[in-house]
Amino acid sequence: MTDEIQAIEALQDNQPLKPHRSQWSEVWLQFRQHKGAMIGGGFLLFITLAVVVGPILWDVDPGKLDIRSKNIRPIYTALWNSEAKVDWAHPFGSDNLGRDYLANMLAGGRTSMAVGWAAMLLSLFLGAAIGVLAGYFKHLDGMLMRLTDLFLSLPILPLLLVAVTLFRQPLRVIFGTPEMGMFVLIVSVIGITSWMHTARIVRGDVLALKEREFVLAARSAGTTSRGIILRHLLPNVISPIVVSATFGLATAIITESSLSFLGVGFPSDFPTWGKMLADGVMRMTEYPELVMLPGIAISLTVLAVNFLGDGLRDALDPRIRGR
């Protein structure tokens, strides 16, 4: 009686089982199906690399004035206008003070992306923390959710404008350089005013998760609340967090550019895409590229991030998966 039990023929595997796929390779397979998300992710990677590595390769000082070569058109204008003043030394042209526009675009993109990423991480941290606390601890729930509702009805842009204008001077003193002070200020105000959606989503998921058996099992095994949150709850809410992170990045980039556009952002010799756009508006009719290049850069980056978020949501949400 030692021979193994044979499955009946219909239940036998007629080919070897496929190797087990991990959850993340499953997600990756699903993500690859979404063409827009792949392109968006690729473009985001490209922009990030360009603003990180670009200034090393194109090592022209973005603030260098060269009045002899001012108002140079981008190289592509030569395609339809042979009269245009173009120069291979300035592929994206130069502005009215002769500053190289390509170097400015790279430096501006570096600022915009840095602010976007940092603000997104801050708001993600706040949102996840508040969401988990509200979902897990019942006595904190009411208070934290009222706080979230309150923040949701705040007039965000007016408050940002007020905060950035009024706190500009002291932070400049604290952090030494005006750029650093402004960076910390903008990142913190954007982070503090944009965590609410993440918090709501995370809270909802934690509320459902904490009633599940594995949490009960962990608790009966003597796991502390801290352990349950870090080991069991957070890994399970990682997908909504990742998805709201992408949308948070898009919002942060747009908010920073809006502030720069309205003239309350970084100091005037420090390029960002929003400020380059605002500066270009004055001479937009003669030199449309001054507006088009930064505008397209912002729009494409945000579009890429949004597509990436769409794809991630489809890939990470098992209910939508496979549709």
Partner: protein, 354 residues
């Protein structure tokens, strides 16, 4: 429903007070000195007197309380007086005289209004002049966006994955991503510089007396409204599509089809009504962003609404104006949220707020 509305209105009072406190503390903590612009030749003791005259010497809670009294008690009195004496609808009522202006020759208690440091005139007088422009632009943008977005959302969901759906989704994604401070200048270049169809600057002094004036008014409103509407359209149509897709899979749709209702009725009556419910919440959540967008739009097209006023007074460090305007933005957002919640209850009979 009425009790719910009243309860929400009452509950909004502490929320608004708290928001006012946040704004006030932000302005208090800010180190900017309103006396910084005063020439250095003015002696320090005179400066100190000027500070006291502005009410800056008092502790913050006194200042906050005084602002609250001025904003929520004295300003309504002024409004009531105006309503009964010179407004078009209510001037038949007996004239009230509850507001006593301060000034020379006034005996006894008098009412001080919130005064702008920049113009030395009451803040609310300026706000009342500016508010209609903002509300017109934002309101019209919502209406336009609604009428564009709903059909797109319906058709995209009904023909899911069709060419229309694919292009529609792509275009709304673009509308979602392109910021208003880029679309604004772009529209100006295309439509007022190259084509010359619309003026690039909004003329507020324009009054409408005949048809030609109306045409001019419409022309100057098109671009600001469209910039704002693009943002809203993108959001609404995305959610409309998602919520239509959810509803089209429901059992009641199959039942409706099975009992032989025409397809038009199934989609446009049964599914549409149920899908609109979810969209209402989205509209409510998007409102703060839209008011933010309206500030930028007003700046781009030089519409002299309250957003433009806010930026101007911020740069002039006119604190009473900034405080009042930010509070008004908060008030508009809270009210819009209440309207959306009440509408949600009206549209969806399953929801009972008791």
């Amino acid at each position: 429903m009425l009790t719910y509305t009243i309860r929400r209105l009452i509950l909004s009072v502490p929320v608004l007070l708290f928001i006012a406190l946040i704004i006030f503390m932000l302005l208090q903590l800010a180190p900017g000195d309103p006396m910084a612009q005063v020439p250095l030749t003015v002696p320090p003791e005179v400066k100190e007197k000027m500070r006291e005259a502005l009410g800056l010497g008092a502790p913050w809670y006194v200042q906050f309380w005084k602002w609250l009294v001025q904003m929520l008690w004295i300003e309504p009195k002024v409004f009531l007086d105006w309503l009964t004496t010179s407004s078009a609808w209510f001037s038949w009522l007996p004239d009230t005289n509850v507001y006593t202006a301060c000034g020379a020759g006034v005996e006894g208690p008098c009412d001080l209004r919130v005064i702008s440091w920049q113009t030395r005139s009451p803040v609310m007088d300026i706000v009342i002049q500016r508010l209609p422009q903002t509300l017109w632009v934002v309101g019209l943008a919502y209406v336009v966006a609604f009428f564009i977005a709903i059909p797109i959302g319906i058709y995209s969901a009904y023909k899911q994955y069709s060419a229309f759906d694919q292009t529609g989704t792509f275009i709304t994604m673009i509308g979602f991503s392109v910021p208003p401070f880029f679309t604004g200048p772009l529209l100006i270049v295309i439509f007022s510089v190259y084509l010359g169809w619309f003026p690039s600057i909004y003329d507020t002094t324009h009054t409408i007396n005949n048809w030609d004036d109306l045409v001019i008014q419409i022309k100057q409103m098109i671009m600001p409204v469209m910039v704002l509407a693009l943002q809203i359209t993108a959001q609404i149509s995305r959610f409309m599509r998602a919520s239509m897709l959810d509803n089209l899979k429901q059992d009641y749709v199959r039942t409706a089809r099975a009992k032989g209702l025409p397809e038009r009725v199934v989609v446009l009556v049964h599914v549409l009504r149920n899908s609109l419910i979810a969209v209402v919440t989205v509209i409510a959540l998007a409102i703060p962003g839209i008011f933010g967008g309206s500030i930028i739009t007003e700046r781009v097209f030089k519409v002299n609404g309250i957003g433009d006023l806010l930026i101007g007074s911020l740069f002039a460090s006119d604190m009473p104006m900034v405080m009042t305007l930010t509070f008004i933005f908060a008030f508009l957002i809270v009210m819009a949220n209440i309207i959306a919640d009440v509408l949600y209850g009206v549209l969806d009979p399953r929801i009972r707020y008791d």
